[in-house]
């Protein structure tokens, strides 16, 4: 009955190309599931009053992929009705209002994919080696720090 029981997909893409929510949602569609939950992180146009022109992302790519696989494995233990999991993260220059990350998770019960998406973005911010530099219109640039990251200064944002 459940065509995708035997081939639960763990999909990861770190890419310099523009992200597409259609591509993510289509990659996790499952004929026996009814629910897809998604999270899209987009670049903001300001930080503490400074106008952000663009962002630049870099990643420790093989370790980022390995960390994402660990997160996926944790998700499958906690929410067994989750079927497919897909994370696309953009690298390089990301213009304001464009997506830096898109997460898509399908499940038979919608509450599971909704909770799993929340877990996934929280865990990604805490543990996946990816970095973002904000480039300001007037005052140079700065490397950001996720408040979820345990070894940062955890400054007030």
């Amino acid at each position: 009955m459940n065509n995708c029981d035997n081939d639960a997909k763990d999909l990861i893409k770190l890419t310099y190309d523009k992200l597409s929510s259609d591509a993510v949602s289509e990659s996790v569609v499952c004929p026996s599931c009814g629910a897809i939950s998604m999270f899209i992180g987009t670049t903001r146009n300001n930080f503490e009053g400074k106008k952000v022109v663009q962002l630049e992302y870099e990643a420790y790519i093989p370790m980022a992929e390995a960390q994402l696989k660990k997160i996926f494995s944790d998700i499958r233990k906690t929410w067994p009705s989750v079927r497919h999991i897909c994370v696309h993260h953009r690298l390089g220059v990301v213009p304001v209002m464009e997506a830096s990350v898109i997460i898509g998770i399908s499940s038979t019960h919608r509450s599971e994919s909704l909770e799993a998406v929340k877990y996934c973005i929280d865990a990604l911010k805490a543990a996946v080696p990816i970095w973002k530099k904000e480039i300001y219109e007037t005052e140079g640039s700065s490397w950001k720090e996720n408040k979820e990251c345990l070894w940062g200064r955890n400054e007030v944002k």
Partner: protein, 86 residues
């Protein structure tokens, strides 16, 4: 006894060290804190990251502490400033 490892620098650490990767010779038996101090000796500006950095050894996070690492030739060590993905 020493061994050669590949050190990768990311984000702010790459800017401070002004290098993205280098191969260095270090003791096989070394604590993560000693390894960090080695890197700071080579690139003093890295000290700006103290207390806000971890290492990754063979792609596993390692806090800066007295835990002994067993490094092998060709191991990959990365300097990991605070994360900001997502």
């Amino acid at each position: 006894m020493n061994t050669e490892v590949l050190v990768l620098y990311f984000a702010k650490s790459a800017e401070l060290a002004d290098v993205r990767s280098e191969t260095i010779s270090v003791a096989r038996e070394i604590t993560s804190l000693q390894l960090w101090e080695e890197l700071v000796n080579r690139h003093p500006r890295l000290s700006a990251l103290r207390n806000q950095v971890v290492l990754a050894v063979r792609q596993e996070y390692v806090a800066l502490e007295d835990q002994l690492l067993s490094l092998r030739s060709g191991d990959e060590v990365a300097v990991i400033p605070p994360l900001s993905g997502g």
